[in-house]
């Protein structure tokens, strides 16, 4: 209703403006009011589930004055056969808007109102438009292509390793120490402590930690070392028990396995840390593993572990916590090494093949950084067209969203 009144008013203004131009009195009124936006066009928002419509327009002429006489714009939408409503308020200078609250079943008409202190001006309405849904998001085609490329490299090297091709993998210091660290605990007759971070199974770092646990517990089962694993999530407890149990089965000693090796403490970050600290000072583990997603507790754990003289092997992909582990632990896996660890420890060719595959991703990154930086620098410093084209092409290819 309001919408129609607004249109009616706008028409009146325009008529009054046009008709009254020569007359002195009304000319003043015309000066005070403002021009509406022009060239308002509505198009379907591409590659969505049929929920979006893009609007673009040319701002009111009065918006180009300095200072602008327009204080802002309102976007109005009406469903064909229904009522209209204001769906957005935008600042002066705006020239586009995306309505993402549409329904595929409806047809819409839009108009934009320019707001000023003196009065408002309504644009001509758009043609009726119905949003359409697409089945493939072509905006993400570059993401799909590059992710596919890297994935294909990983799978290719897994396959080629499977067929018996010899692969070189560099030493990862922290992981070479795993056997010795467990052996030390066995000799000293003290337990090893395994902390899989404080996140749940819906964090990929926790999953990485559990896969490493699979390798570590295999050695533990072989050496007959005691393992203690307090966890802060129930699901992690379940997964860890499965994993350790399987290792004991594989080592041929299912009777030595016991559910109490893994125990749930509490979901609360510092409640968990308080309990783990207590376990450390009372049971004095010979070796501590901290692998997974860690937050502030990383240093509390590492310093307490150090005070009881444990060998500490840590690894996380939490950039903020890596420094603490590097500084306070004997060995630290940095970021990517955490994800590579289970493959490295397994020493199976196909697992190692995947490491070579991810190196292809790094190689691509290196090439793009070198070529891109050179193109961007040369292009912008000496205005070389080809270089600029190359630079913007790379930007487009690596843009996400």
């Amino acid at each position: 209703m309001l919408f129609r009144v607004a249109i009616a008013f706008a028409c009146l203004f325009i008529i009054a403006g046009v008709a009254g131009q020569p007359a002195g009195d009304t000319a003043l009124a015309v000066q005070q009011t403002i021009a509406p936006v022009t060239s308002l066009i509505a198009t379907n928002h591409e590659y969505d589930n049929g929920t979006g419509i893009d609007l673009i327009w040319v701002p009111s002429i009065d918006d180009r004055l300095a200072p602008s006489r327009v204080t802002g714009y309102e976007v109005w939408r009406s469903v064909v056969g229904g009522s209209g409503s204001r769906i957005a308020e935008l600042p002066a200078g705006a020239n586009k808007f995306t309505d993402e609250q549409c329904s595929r079943e409806s047809t819409y008409v839009y108009s934009v109102v320019a707001i000023s202190v003196a009065g408002n001006a309504v644009s001509i309405s758009t043609a009726p438009i119905q949003p359409a849904r697409e089945w493939i998001n072509l905006h993400r085609l570059n993401l799909l292509a590059i992710a596919f490329l890297v994935s294909a490299a990983v799978i290719y090297f897994i396959q080629s390793a499977r067929s018996g091709k010899k692969l070189f993998v560099r030493k990862i210091a922290g992981l070479d120490a795993v056997d010795d660290a467990i052996g030390r605990a066995t000799e000293m007759g003290r337990p090893i402590l395994f902390i899989p971070g404080i996140q749940d199974m819906d964090d990929v770092q926790t999953i990485a930690a559990i896969t490493i646990l699979g390798r570590v517990s295999r050695v533990v089962a072989d050496y007959d070392t005691k393992i203690k694993m307090p966890v802060s999530r129930s699901l992690v407890m379940t997964a860890a028990r499965e994993t350790i149990k399987a290792s004991y089965m594989a080592a041929g000693r299912p009777d030595a396995y016991n559910d109490d090796m893994v125990s749930y403490v509490t979901d609360e970050q510092f409640g968990y840390v308080a309990a783990v600290d207590g376990i450390m000072v009372r049971e004095k583990p010979a070796t501590c593993f901290y692998l997974g997603a860690f937050f502030a507790e990383s240093l509390i754990l590492a310093e307490t572990g150090n005070s009881v003289g444990a060998i500490q092997i840590a690894g996380t992909a939490m950039p903020a916590q890596i420094p603490f582990f590097v500084a306070a632990c004997d060995f630290a896996l940095i970021g990517e090494e955490l994800f590579a660890a289970s493959a490295y420890l397994s020493n199976e060719p196909k697992q190692l093949g995947s490491l070579k595959g991810q190196d292809v991703g790094k190689a691509v990154a290196l090439v793009v950084i070198v070529v891109g930086t050179m193109a961007a620098t040369i292009g912008s410093a000496w205005d070389v067209t080809f270089m600029n084209q190359l630079w913007s092409a790379l930007k487009v290819v690596f843009q996400t969203n």
Binding site: S234, M237, Y264, V273, A274, L299, A328, S354
Partner: protein, 224 residues
């Protein structure tokens, strides 16, 4: 069956969610997963909470060392459960807001859990100091770099850093410690962070593929 079905589920669900990113009508699948996960997590807690009860009850029953503390844990756990599940003390009753100031749950949280958590967190201040003393030593080249970077940043975050180098003329103001600290954060630090982030991204791709393809299956208790 015991081995194949979980592997199939992993592969199927993972592939579906990868695809959903590229298919607009499937965009909500990722959201639905987080709802599933939250619901599964509640059920899983019955296992975790049950485990907590069992361990401490066993400790008390067999009078193992420190069994007295297990009683404290059990009482605290059950009191909190009762207070929260029955919304004890809540003026709105069982349908009221859980965190109303008068409810026992909120009182216990405010007066017991919250000071405990803050204090445990505050212990970090002490550990940061002892770790700095121990770790920041010029043992080798790497450790020396670590030490120097840390020292500049520390100095730059205090007014003394400003005073110490304020005599440096404005055209060389980068050498003033606070500016140098900011430059380290946005220059070399940024570079290191980026390398780590790119590495992590690729590491996740590779590990996820190993999991989806069933090469990595230790988490399922399948170790071959």
């Amino acid at each position: 069956m015991k081995r194949e079905v979980p592997l199939f589920i992993t592969f199927f669900v993972g592939t579906l969610l990868i695809a959903s990113v590229f298919i607009p009508p499937a965009e909500s699948w990722g959201e639905n997963f987080s709802v599933y996960f939250d619901i599964i997590a509640v059920f899983a807690f019955f296992l975790g909470g049950g485990n907590l009860l069992r361990i401490h009850l066993q400790k008390v029953a067999s009078k193992r060392p420190d069994w007295g503390y297990s009683i404290v844990t059990l009482v605290a756990f059950l009191v909190m459960l009762a207070a929260g599940l029955f919304k004890l003390g809540n003026p709105g009753g069982i349908s009221g807001n859980l965190t109303t100031a008068q409810s026992w749950f909120q009182i216990l949280f405010q007066n017991i859990m919250s000071p405990l958590g803050s204090t445990m967190y505050a212990l970090l201040a002490f550990f940061v100091a002892s770790a700095s003393y121990r770790a920041f030593r010029a043992k080798n080249r790497d450790a020396t770099i670590l030490l120097v970077a840390a020292f500049i940043i520390l100095l730059g975050r205090t007014p003394f850093g400003t005073m110490l180098t304020s005599w440096i003329p404005p055209q060389y103001d980068l050498l003033q410690v606070p500016n140098l600290a900011i430059w380290i954060m946005s220059g070399p630090n940024l570079a290191g962070q980026r390398a780590i982030m790119i590495g992590i991204g690729l590491g996740i791709v590779s590990m996820s593929l190993r999991i989806l393809l069933g090469i990595e299956r230790t988490y399922l208790g399948d170790d071959r």
